[in-house]
Every structure is written in structure tokens, then in C-alpha cells.
Amino acid sequence: MRMLSRFLPGLLCLCLLFGLPQAVQAQDDPGQPLLEALDTSSYADKAEAIEVIIESGDERSRRWLEALLNGKLQRHKDNQRFVIVLENRGRHWPVADALSFEEAGEMSRRELDRIGINNALRGTLQNALSLLDLYVDDADQRRDAARDLLGNVDASMVEPLKAVIENEENAEVRRLLSQALAIYRLDQGDVEAIADLEGSLNQQVRSVLNSAARSDDPVLADAASAALAGIEQKLKLNQGLETLYFGLSLGSVLVLAAIGLAITFGVMGVINMAHGELIMLGAYTTWGMQQLLPGQPGLALVLSIPAGFLVAALAGIAIERGVIQFLKGRPLETLLATFGVSLILQQLVRTVISPQNRTVVSPEWLSGSVMINEGLSLTLNRLYVLGFALLVFAGLMLVMRKTRLGLEVRAVTQNRAMARSMGIRATRVDIMTFALGSGVAGLAGVALSQLTNVGPNLGQNYIIDSFMVVVFGGVGNLWGTLVAGLSLGVINQVLEPWVGAVLAKIIVLVFIILFIQKRPKGLFPQKGRAAEG
């Protein structure tokens, strides 16, 4: 790290050298011995070799270190040649020469020896790369690099960092770097460093304060405890918000899974045990879409929204025409028949596609989290699912309230005979309603593919929860489903830290049973004549 200044000019002249023919033989290339030093089984020796590479100022260092970090720097077993693997899936990998970076065809896994690293070395490498990132022009990249350095500063980095802080124009980067230095100073037992850390919600800060609070030096321990107390206070609020978010997010998943059922079961009165498998079909559609559009997971995901709806709706129509229409008014038989359908669909997927889970890639904009403050960040995929659930709900409300189909559905469910005598084709409405409910299940599947496994068992995990939500919310009431889903999610997440995940689930179930005893029609019972129908 001390040689950073020497390394930087090298980086700058990279542009000059780029494009010059690599006439140098591998043996004469100064890079060859640098890489050879990495090829040792001892991690301590590797750490030294990394240090030497950084100090060498070779303009290729950065790419070497990145390749090493990603496990892609490898050596041919039979000769001295080092290569960088470009794509490491399957048995044959395209490679590039590690010295010239020219593509060098394909090599088999058998021929290559990987230069392995462990977590400690990974940390060293990331630190080295973060330090380099502090000199780039992009302020965001500098900020991320500074954040990565929190808790990772060592003695050799102190002086270069001080120089960087001097020259840094971005206040946020300056603050983070001072904090990183303060963490290091506190770790060395410097009481004054605590002043710089006060009020920070960062995990690394809390971690170092916690260990300082246990120190033998009473002055240091007291100061650290006082700083911690202030931070804990701030954290309380954070934790409350976090739990609420977790609850709403779990609730949104429940709402999504249940809202289709609220239509087929709640409005039509059909107990459809294959509802979970319709969700599964939606998830598999997402997977299929990603197979059709390789390399564009985002576009595929957006396209799967209509596709998932269509596939599940068509499957729904098939179930309605094939099974349910013959069992009208016989709920027990419908239950058994649709349960059979669900088993058939599961095994179909197992036989036709695979019993293994399928990989659904999350697009870039769905991974990671948004930071509200340093102690609270909201995971993006769940945020999107929460938004999506509300959108689907709003859309469904719109269909039921504002369209001809919605009107007819409401008419048929309120009084079938009367509706028919008014010229509504009840059978057609049945099909459309069931297709709508199934299609929404497909939408749930598209969303769930971003949260959980896409496999044949996906639907089973949600069917019980879905019925629970619909019954709790009040059969036939979409608002009830929304409120029930969200509140069950929050209750579950509030209980979980206290009693554990297993007991929380049990308590929620018992609560619903007791609630249904008291109010058999759920949270929002239907009123008037429709309730009797």
C-alpha cells in the first residue's frame, strides 16, 4: 500500500501502452515472475506475492488482481502459461493470456490449475482495489470504495488515506474516510476517535465500539459505552421501521398469493386446491421467458408479467372446463378433484422440465437494497414485490368495479338465476372469472420467482397461507384480503424475533382459528342479501 503512489503513474500510462504489440516473450515478461509467485499453496506467501504485485507498479496489476479475486486467474498444468478464464461454466472454458490479455481459445478444466484464494485474501484484494478506486473520477464509485474501507483500515493505509482526505472534494467521501480512520484509531485504543464516531449507525462502528466498551481501560470503556447508548437510542426507531417493512413485505407476498384465490374461492365459491400450482406455472413462465431471452433478465421479467398471466389463465380455463364445471355445488368433490389436479401438475413439471429447482436470474435493478440511513436499508426485490402487489390489487379492483365483466361477475355471484334471466351468460362469466383469478395467481408466481425457489413444490408452500388469508379477510371481499394479508404479515414478523419462526407460525394459526370462532365471516363480512347466496 505504501507504494500506491508508485503504482498510480503506472495506471496512468496504461493508455499509452495499450495497443503496443506484445512482442515480449513470456519468459522475459516482468509479469511472469510476479504471477509465478502467486502459484503457491500457502496463503501467507500469496499475500506477500499480492503485495509485490501492487508494489511493482505494473499497469496490468489491476486486471490480475481482479482476475485473482474472481478465481479466474489460472495456470496451465503443463507449461508456465498463466491465463485468465473468461467464462467458467461447463467443461471447456474460453481463456485469455494473462500477460497479453489476448484471447487464447478454449481450455479444458482438466488442463488448468486455479490460483485459489480464501476469505482473508479476498479481503486484502478488495481493500487494495478499494484503495485504487479512491482515485477514480466517479464520486459514487469513490463513495462505495470508502464505505468498503470502514473497519478494514490497517497501519500501512493510514498515511495514504490522510492524503486522500486532504484532496477529496466530496463531503460524503471525506466523512466516510475519516470514520474509517477513526475506527482504526479506536481499535488502537485512541479515546479521541470516539468523537468522530458518535451517532453513526454503521455496523462496523457499532462493532468496534462494542469491543472498546469491553476494554480494560475504564476511560475508554466508559466513553465507548456512552457513545453506544446514543446509537442504540437511534437504532430503536430503525428497528421498529425495519420490522414494519418486513411485515408489509411478507404481507404483500401473502396478498399476491391469496388475491387470485379471493376471486375464485371468495367470489365464485370454488375451492381450488390447484391454486398453488397456478402460481407455480407463473413462476415457470418467468424461467421459460429467461431461457428464450438469454442475457436480458430484466426484459424477460417484464415480459413474463403478461405471459405469466396468460399461461395461468389458460390453465385455469382448462381446469374450469375440464373438472370444476361438472362439480358445481359439490364443494367436497371439487376439493378432492382439484387436489388431484394439483398433484398432476406438480408431477407434470417434474417429469417434463425437471425435479430440480430452476435458476431465475434477478435483474440488476432488483438486487441489493436502498439505503435509508446507515442502519436501515430496504431490500429492493421485496420493495418491488410490495409495489407490484398493490398494483395488482388496484388493477383488480378496477376490473371488478369499472368493467362490464366486473359488473357481470358481481351480478352472477349475487343471484345467478336473476342474472341469467337478465340475459347474462352465466357459464361464460364463470369461465372469465376463473381465468381472471388464475391469471392473477400467475402474476403472483412471476413475483415469487424473485423471492424464492422456482421448483415443483413452489405452490404447496403458499396454498395453506392463501386460504388462511382469504378466510381471515372475509370470503368474497377483496379489501378484506388486502387488510388480512398485510396484517398477518406484520403480526408474524413482530412475533418472530420473540418466539422464533416455528412458534410464530403456530401462534398466527391459533389466532386465526380463535378469530374465526368469534367472527365466522372474517374481518369484513359481506352484508345484505349477497351474504346469504
Binding site: R91, N119, Q203, S207, S377, N381
Partner: protein, 439 residues
């Protein structure tokens, strides 16, 4: 239930008597010369466990094919008898009975979950069958008729914890598992082990979740809190099957990276990782006795054969597959040694049999029906493979009875004559030292 189970049994008994009466002992021996050797495969092909078990069925089929291409065994062909216990534990027992009594298979390769093994155990013992069980498990068992080719806790969990404690310097521990027998027993052993190494109660957090748990927000957040106490923290995960994918996703999204809080898993292998984008998981750990990335020619040959068998260029191999590979070769070797497939003869012959494993060494069958294995620690890579960062200097022999549990400490298992006992109490000097307390 009872009548259901008794009926077929009575029928098989009658059938067996009739067949014994019809065929003389000599004609049966003659028949043996030409009949194929039947190999039973008892793995779920439908239901929740199909995700893990179908590849094991394919593995045994591949091994049988290879053996037949090499001329069979004792000059006889091998024939696979595949049944589907459909992830239904009682059905495992029925299917095992079908294999042994009706199909009269010479050996069974099967089971994944401990509960299915426990369900099959009395049947295999009653009908004197041979069962090769290929999955890592909680130990505390040794049956005369079962050969445990997966890891016992001392071949996986304990070395992994040693690695974290000594090489990584971990001081605080989260033991997270799915709520059933394997995680509970393993965590109990680990808890006792950690405490015997001076870890205080405050530095251990134990957490159980239901099967197929998919909402990990709170637990991951708790783990983050727990790791903020200024001591190096690690998670030891016995989370089973499907629940791992959302767990790892949540870890990635909440920014828990391996440098801060490494997660070492005992049930996550290449198969499970093939269902997720492993980019955010790089550096998290797994402890197994085999990884697909092992750099030996034997392993590359095995992978090539597997890819050819499945016809899928991206097919992955995993630890239980290697266990079947070892178990199958051990059984074949024992049959050759005993010159018969007779269960009692094979059972005696197999103890001490040594065959190559896929990691460049040898596996030996111990008298307690467990095998010797190297223990490897691997870090997850971005391509769904593991990079081996540490391994035990030599192989470790499986210990049926843990040294860290009250009640099992004094037990040993030795199926050689004259002891022939699966739970010999060395303190009382008697066989049948009782069951260890395992919840």
C-alpha cells in the same frame, strides 16, 4: 396401520415357503448362476425430496451400467430395480419390504432424510437386507444391515467448526437449522463441542425454522445484530433443501458478505447452488467430503461419465453422489471377495475393504459400518462451484456415537466377530448400552 403392514408380510412368508418347497436348495444355487444380481434403488422420484434424490437414482443406474460394461460381477449381469417411495416416510418402509421380500434384491442403495432411514431400518433388519445410505447425517446409530457412506458429524460439522475457530478466528456462533432431527442433533453436538472449547453461552445463538421457510428477513437481520458485538461471528447452517435459496438471497440483499459473517453450510452442495445466482454468495463456505471442483483425474472421469449419462453439459455432481460411488464399489469389491452376493457373507467381507474415492485418496469400511473420508472446506464461487480452501491432512474415520453427547460418549460400534454389537458400552462392558438422548 398394523393390519395393513401384517397382511403383505404374511403373504410373503407364505410365498417364500411355497417357493422353498418347490425349488430345492441345489436348483436355487443353479438359478443364481444365470440370474442377474438385483440392485434395489430406493430414492424418491416424486414429492418434495425428488429434487435431491433423483440424481442419486441416476448415479446408481450409471454405476450399474459401468459395471455391466466391465463384465458384471461374478460373471453375472447387474439389474437395477427402481421403486419410488414418493417422499413419503411410511412408504419407504413398504417399498423396502417390496424390494427385499418380493424382488429379492441383493443390496439396496437409498434414502436421503434421516426420518426415511429410520422408517426403513426395522424392515432391513428384519429381512436381513443390505442398505447403503449416502447422505451426511447426525450419527447416533449403527445397524448391522446399514452402511453409512455419508459423513457422520465428526467428518463434517466438527472439522468445519475447527476450521472457523482456528483458521478464521471465529468467537461468536449462530447455529441455524431447519426444525428436525438432523439439525437438532448436530447443533446439540456442536453446542457441547463449542462449550468444551470455552465459548460462553452468550456467544451462541441457536435458531430453528420450519421446512421450506421462505421469509428470512427477520432472521438475517437478527444475525446481523448478533454479529455487531465486536467479535468475529460465523453462521453454522444446517438449513435443509429448498429453504436455502431464499436464505442466501436475503443474505445477499441485506449485504451480509462472507468477509464479515461467513456462513458455513452442511446441506448446500453444487446441486442446491445450481438453483441460484451465486454472485452475492462468493466466499460463503460449505463443508463436505467431496466437491465437484476437486482436481483429480478420477473426478474428471466421473464428471465426464455423468455428463454423458445425463446428456446435460451443465450437469453437476455432488457429495452424496460420490458416497454412492464409494458405496457401490465397496459392495462390488466385497461381493468379489466373498464370491457370493449372500448378505451375511458380504457383510463380513466388506469390513476393511478399501476403494479409491474421487478426491485422490482411499476410503475404507470401518467395523462400525462407517467409512473413512477426507474433510474439505470450500468457498462458494460465482459459477456455482466451490473452491477448496482447507482440508484435513488425512482421512477421518466416521464415528457412529458422538464423543460430545451424554449417553453416547461411552458407546462404540463394532460389527466384527466376536463383538458384533452396534452400541457396546465400554464402561458397563455390555452390548445394548441404550439409545443416546437425541430429542
Amino acid at each position: 396401520m398394523i393390519t395393513l403392514q401384517r397382511q403383505p408380510h404374511a403373504r410373503y412368508l407364505a410365498a417364500a415357503l411355497v417357493s422353498a418347497a418347490v425349488m430345492g436348495a441345489s436348483s436355487q444355487a443353479l438359478a443364481q448362476q444365470d440370474d442377474p444380481i438385483k440392485v434395489g434403488i430406493l430414492h424418491s422420484l416424486s414429492g418434495t425430496m425428488a429434487i435431491s434424490e433423483t440424481v442419486l437414482k441416476d448415479t446408481v443406474e450409471m454405476l450399474i451400467e459401468q459395471q455391466n460394461d466391465a463384465g458384471g460381477l461374478l460373471g453375472r449381469e447387474l439389474e437395477a430395480v427402481v421403486v419410488d417411495p414418493a417422499s413419503d416416510w411410511p412408504l419407504f418402509a413398504e417399498k423396502a419390504r417390496e424390494l427385499l421380500a418380493q424382488e429379492e434384491v441383493d443390496v439396496i442403495f437409498g434414502n436421503w432424510t434421516s426420518v426415511s432411514r429410520k422408517s426403513v431400518l426395522p424392515v432391513v433388519e428384519e429381512l436381513n437386507g443390505l442398505l447403503f445410505y449416502p447422505v451426511q447425517y447426525e450419527g447416533e446409530e449403527s445397524s448391522e444391515n446399514v452402511f453409512y457412506t455419508g459423513a457422520a458429524p465428526n467428518q463434517q460439522a466438527i472439522p468445519a467448526v475447527d476450521y472457523l475457530m482456528n483458521e478464521v478466528g471465529v468467537e461468536r456462533w449462530v447455529l441455524a437449522g431447519t426444525d428436525y432431527v438432523y439439525p437438532r442433533t448436530t447443533n446439540k453436538i456442536l453446542d457441547a463441542y463449542l462449550k468444551s472449547h470455552g465459548v460462553s453461552d452468550d456467544d451462541i445463538m441457536i435458531n430453528y425454522t420450519p421446512f421450506g421457510h421462505s421469509d428470512w428477513q427477520n432472521i438475517v437481520s437478527e444475525i446481523k445484530q448478533f454479529g455487531n458485538e465486536g467479535k468475529k461471528t460465523a453462521v453454522v447452517s444446517t438449513i435443509n433443501g429448498d429453504a436455502n435459496v431464499p436464505f442466501y438471497r436475503e443474505l445477499g440483499n441485506q449485504g451480509v458478505n462472507a468477509a464479515d459473517i461467513p456462513v458455513v453450510a452442511f446441506s448446500v452442495g453444487e446441486q442446491e447452488l445450481s438453483g441460484i445466482d451465486t454472485g452475492p454468495l462468493v466466499g460463503h463456505l460449505a463443508a463436505w467430503n467431496y466437491f465437484m471442483s476437486v482436481d483429480t483425474d478420477a473426478n474428471y472421469d466421473f464428471i465426464d461419465a455423468w455428463i454423458e449419462h445425463t446428456g446435460d453439459e451443465m450437469a453437476v455432481t455432488n457429495d452424496p453422489m460420490e458416497a454412492h460411488y464409494i458405496g457401490f464399489n465397496m459392495w462390488a469389491e466385497a461381493v468379489r471377495k466373498a464370491e457370493t452376493t449372500d448378505v451375511d457373507a458380504v457383510k463380513d467381507a466388506i469390513i476393511g475393504v478399501t476403494v479409491p474415492n474421487l478426491t485422490g485418496g482411499y476410503a475404507a469400511m470401518m467395523p462400525n459400518h462407517h467409512i473413512t473420508k477426507p474433510v474439505l472446506i470450500g468457498e462458494i464461487q460465482d459459477n456455482g462451484q466451490f473452491s477448496i480452501v482447507w482440508q484435513t491432512p488425512s482421512t477421518v474415520a466416521g464415528d457412529a456415537w458422538s464423543d460430545y453427547l451424554e449417553g453416547s460418549r461411552d458407546l462404540i460400534s463394532d460389527w466384527r466377530k466376536p463383538m458384533e454389537c452396534g452400541n457396546y458400552n465400554v464402561v458397563e462392558g455390555s452390548c445394548g448400552g441404550g439409545e443416546a438422548e437425541t430429542e
